[in-house]
Amino acid sequence: MINLPLHMGSTALFALIILLGLIGGELAGKIRFLPKIFGYIAVGFLIGPGAFNWVDFSILGQTRLFIDISLGLILFEIGRYLDFSWLRYDRYLLPMSLAESGLTFILLFAALLILGLSWLTAALSATIAVVTSPAVLIMVTHDLDTHGPVTRRVLTLTSLNNLFGLIIFTALLPFAQTSITPLPEILGHITYDLLGAIILALIMFVVTLLLARLTGKNNERQFVLLVGMTVLAISLARMFQLSTMLTLFIFGMFARNLDSHHYLSDVNFGAVARFFLIFLFVLTGIYLQPRGIWQETLAVITFIAIRFVGKSIGVFLFAKISRLTQQQAWSTSLALIPMAGVALGMSFMLTNLNPELGTLLVTIVSAALAILNLIGPIIAQWAFLKAGEAKS
């Protein structure tokens, strides 16, 4: 007799998750308007506690390393999208990003305060809302084979809002740690976390450059180099108790912008990225907790609505001066909706540090995630199709 939920080794679990996810994604892909991500997440939800309960939340502990690697690769990849040279030539791109991120944060923070949440929970929720899911966008743009100004702008805005979100989150996190109370100690932690991530990323970047000079501009060898360095950076960040996500993002950003002699190839993580992305999406599905929709309905609806309004106003404020068409502005606003992966990572970090605060936040964020996970990729796919940048 087999007892449910199943308990198996983390490697077998990892493999099972990937394979089931793959099947779910392919089935979803058969339906015209559904992106494959929908299938990955749906599979996760079906095998998780929300439905058949074949695997439970203990999976998070068992597969923590894989989660970190997945998030690390995604953050490295989205960090590489941030090209400072474009910010110089399009003077309204950074203001647009600051507007969409800033408005999302300010409006949500204010609304959640009014709803009675503590300033810290409100600030953390607002920070998580700022972030657009790089995983969803990387996969949707890849699956649709989209290329064009909207795709590029959305990925760059996503990259920037991930940067802002990660910095604010890293700065707020010490306030949430119950073990740290005096302000100087909190500030010390913030400084350590932010500077530590920058210094570690810089060291990893310099070592990568030195090794790249050895490998030459061979795509296969540089692929191995970058994946190896990414995983090493994740391990070192964990060892020094730094944010793996922020470290990896900055590492990616340095790889794009500080490589003045172009020693690094534009390596495409391709199949490896899909492997880890499928894992992450299935996991997101397992962790999907829609019950918050009923428990904290108002907070959840407020969260989703204000998030969309904040992002859209930010985009539209600078759309005309950036010479975007109405369609491009709408597509950009809609494509920024997906929220997953990184938000989940942030919630996990918080739950580790402060279970009580984390739980409330996770309830709201998870409920919003449950809704946005289902509709976010569909909306993003639709937005790119309407922008006319998809291959089909």
Binding site: W86, D90, H147, G148, P149, K217, S265, R323, G388
Partner: protein
């Protein structure tokens, strides 16, 4: 059946240039399929000349105005280049010259959404996407259709010069093709490529065109992909053999070279016989394959001559015409290019030997183009 437009008569030996340009993604330096959005942005700013879409979405074509002088043409091309570069940078794409993108995959290209291009795609199948190559077309004004046909045939002798001087497509589909100009192999696949029929008068040509139209082989002059073709509505001949050079300066020099040659040919009215085409495709191939090392066949004197020597001696013959047209500088630069064996293909190969990366070559091309 369509009717051939009457040949517009031009009293002056003016010239104009069309350049097909590459749109490049500045993140990975592959082709960027964004001509539609860039066209929209360019339509919002005022500029001289014309900017048009091309068959696939990573291409754009700029047309200069009509010019009598090399200096004026160069000035306009530089202005158009600056405008285009600035507009493209705002949306984070790059623009560059060159006859072929070094590593784009033709099957990834997308047809520009226009009825004419959709029809070409339907007609030519995969060739339409393979046509993502980039050429320079030079228009030289003619007094009448008979002169235009004379020049079309007389220019056949000099076609290898244009191939060698403009060659800028040594890399294609990710490999060094060993050709200086690999683009011509793509064009040769089309059934209506090659040379115009051996007809000497506009009246004969009109009958020929009408027959081709009655047979439903062509619907307009655009359907002929000849290396040189008459363009009756402009009153010009259009020399379509060259790669788009890596700089607008080179493009202007080549146009001036064509203008000088036309003046020389019209002044001397050398008798042209059909034998000119005996060695035409061999010479065309050799120029594309070997560049400055090509040995050309002279079918009239039954001699072999290096293309270098042939261009240098032609430069001497053109000196008085350069002076008359104010194109001495262009002629001197072409002369020096031959002495230094300086064409786009050699420049690109030399960059590759330094950088060892095709994407870095495109980066260098973008920087070189923007001046």
């Amino acid at each position: 059946m369509t009717v051939l437009l009457p040949f517009k008569e031009n009293s002056e030996l003016t010239m104009g240039v069309e350049l097909e340009l590459q749109l490049v993604d500045l993140q990975n330096f592959n082709l960027a399929m964004e001509s539609k959005d860039l066209m929209r942005r360019l339509s919002e700013v005022s500029h001289t000349g014309e900017i048009k879409p091309e068959i696939t979405q990573a291409m754009i074509e700029i047309n200069s105005s009509v010019h009598l002088s090399y200096a004026a043409l160069l000035n306009e091309l530089q202005q158009l280049r600056d405008l285009l570069t600035e507009e493209a940078r705002q949306t984070h794409i790059g623009i560059c010259g060159g006859g072929a993108h070094p590593f784009q995959k033709w099957d990834e290209q997308r047809i520009y959404p226009l009825e004419r291009f959709a029809s070409l795609s339907e007609q030519y199948g995969y060739l339409a996407k393979q046509f993502t190559v980039f050429g320079q077309h030079i228009h030289i004004a003619c007094a009448n259709g008979d002169d235009a046909l004379y020049l079309c045939h007389a220019f056949a002798r000099y076609i290898p010069h244009f191939i060698v001087l403009s060659a800028a497509s040594p890399f294609h589909q990710g490999i060094d093709t060993s050709f200086d100009c690999s683009r011509l192999a793509v064009i040769s696949a089309f059934p209506l490529s090659g040379t115009p029929p051996w007809l000497a008068t506009w009246e004969e040509f009109t009958l020929y065109y009408e027959k081709m139209s009655r047979l439903s082989i062509v619907k307009s002059m655009k359907d002929f992909y000849w290396d040189v073709r008459p363009k009756p509505e402009y009153g010009t001949i259009e020399i379509r053999i060259g790669d788009t050079p890596l700089t607008v300066n080179k493009a202007a020099q080549l146009a001036a070279y064509a203008q000088m040659l036309a003046r020389y040919l019209l002044a001397h009215r050398n008798e042209v016989s059909q034998d000119i085409y005996l060695a035409y495709f061999t010479n065309r191939f050799r120029a594309a394959r070997y560049g400055f090392d090509a040995e050309l066949i002279d079918p009239f004197h039954e001699l072999h001559i290096s293309v270098n020597k042939d261009i240098l001696s032609t430069c001497q013959q053109l000196e008085e015409h350069a002076a008359a047209l104010g194109s001495e500088e262009a002629l001197e630069l072409i002369h020096n290019d031959v002495l230094n064996r300086d064409n786009g293909a050699n420049w690109l190969r030399s960059r590759y030997s330094e950088l060892h990366s095709l994407s870095d070559i495109v980066r260098a091309q973008v920087n070189f183009w923007s001046g």
